[in-house]
């Protein structure tokens, strides 16, 4: 066997992976290893592969991903904290043939925006809600979120989340799955290559269901927040697997009946 040099491999015809052109060249402000960046990247790939750029309206939240519009080369509306589903409702009703999605953190979607989340899902708006559950308020510096695990420390639960005074972590995906308006509810993660590939498949399904007007699609991504959790990115992924996944198990929670 002849020796193969890098220059023989690095040729356009041998390309195996390149970031989507829907992902802009702006350097993302996310902390090293943060799942937000990975999810943006996969979303960009799906928008490109499904040829949706000219049809997509995305709604960004208040949270670390507030600046999502700097990274995705699509039309984006930046909502008030928790209100993205309300904006998306109007966009979809007024422009029914567009691909409309919200992108929200757990503070945004499961605390301040609970009413908008529940009622948007209950009306079965034909939109996709992407929910980044990192168990914490990342942007504001690591305060307790409604999703923070029992006993988990944060800057506002410094002795650990105490159920008696702070309640239990809320499982939004399970809650919205109970509503007849949702057609597809799934929980995914992006800490492994297999996980990322599964998320991509889930996103593509959501595109298809939205096209077919099946109802609300809800994709939760159990994600990390190395800064808020005060861990290295690699530690945070391990901690997530050991602590978050048992409480927020990955997989489909609800799929359309005939799929």
């Amino acid at each position: 066997m002849t020796e193969v040099k890098a220059k023989d491999i690095v040729k356009p015809e041998n390309l195996a992976y390149k970031k989507s052109k829907i992902l802009t060249d702006n350097v993302m402000h996310y902390c090293p290893g943060c799942g937000h960046g990975t999810v943006h990247r996969v979303l960009a790939e799906v928008i490109e592969e499904e040829d949706l750029q000219s049809k997509t309206v995305g709604i960004s939240p208040v949270g670390c991903s507030v600046l999502m519009y700097n990274y995705l080369d699509i039309d984006i509306q930046e909502a008030a904290h928790g209100r993205a589903p309300a904006l998306a409702t109007a966009v979809k009703r007024l422009l029914p043939d567009r691909f409309v999605f919200t992108y929200q953190g757990d503070g945004d979607l499961a605390a301040i925006g609970t009413a908008e989340t529940i009622h948007t899902c209950n009306r079965g708006e034909n939109i996709l809600m992407i929910f980044i559950n990192n168990g914490i308020y990342g942007m504001t510096g690591g305060q307790m979120a409604p999703t923070t695990l029992i006993g988990m420390k944060s800057s506002t639960s410094p002795y650990g989340r105490d159920v008696a005074t702070m309640g239990s972590p809320i499982k939004m995906a399970d809650i919205v799955a109970l509503l007849p308006g949702t057609c597809y509810v799934t929980r995914q993660s992006v800490n492994t290559a297999a996980g990322v590939r599964k998320l991509k498949k889930a996103l593509k399904k959501a595109v298809e269901y939205q096209r077919d007007k099946r109802g609300t699609c809800f994709i939760e991504i159990v994600s990390n927040c190395p800064s808020g959790w005060k861990m290295t990115p690699v530690e945070s992924n391990k901690w997530m697997e050991e602590n978050m996944f048992p409480f927020y198990p990955l997989g489909d929670i609800k799929v359309p009946k005939d799929s």
């Binding site: 041998n14 350097v27 090293p32 990975t38 990247r41 492994t192 690699v234």
Partner: protein, 75 residues
């Protein structure tokens, strides 16, 4: 026997040194550099390029989308 040879191009200036790609690589091709880039991060690089199989796992988990992967079937 056909064998897949891979190569990665890492935009080291945009790399944040999170190490996620390093631990993901099934062939231990990658490592963090001792040196830092312009942003002060120990960037990822192909420490053992000859072991790369072009599986793209590193690129797929990279939050910053800085890895490009090529692969070639060699007989």
């Amino acid at each position: 026997m056909a064998k897949i040879k891979g190569a990665v191009i890492i935009d080291t200036e945009r790399c944040k040194g999170c190490e996620v790609c390093v631990v993901t690589c099934p062939t231990q091709t990658l490592a963090l550099a001792v040196e830092v880039n312009g942003k002060g991060y120990h960037y990822s690089y192909a420490a053992f390029p000859e072991t790369c199989i072009g599986c793209a796992n590193c690129a797929v988990v990279c939050p910053d989308g800085v890895i490009t992967v090529y692969k070639l079937k060699v007989e």
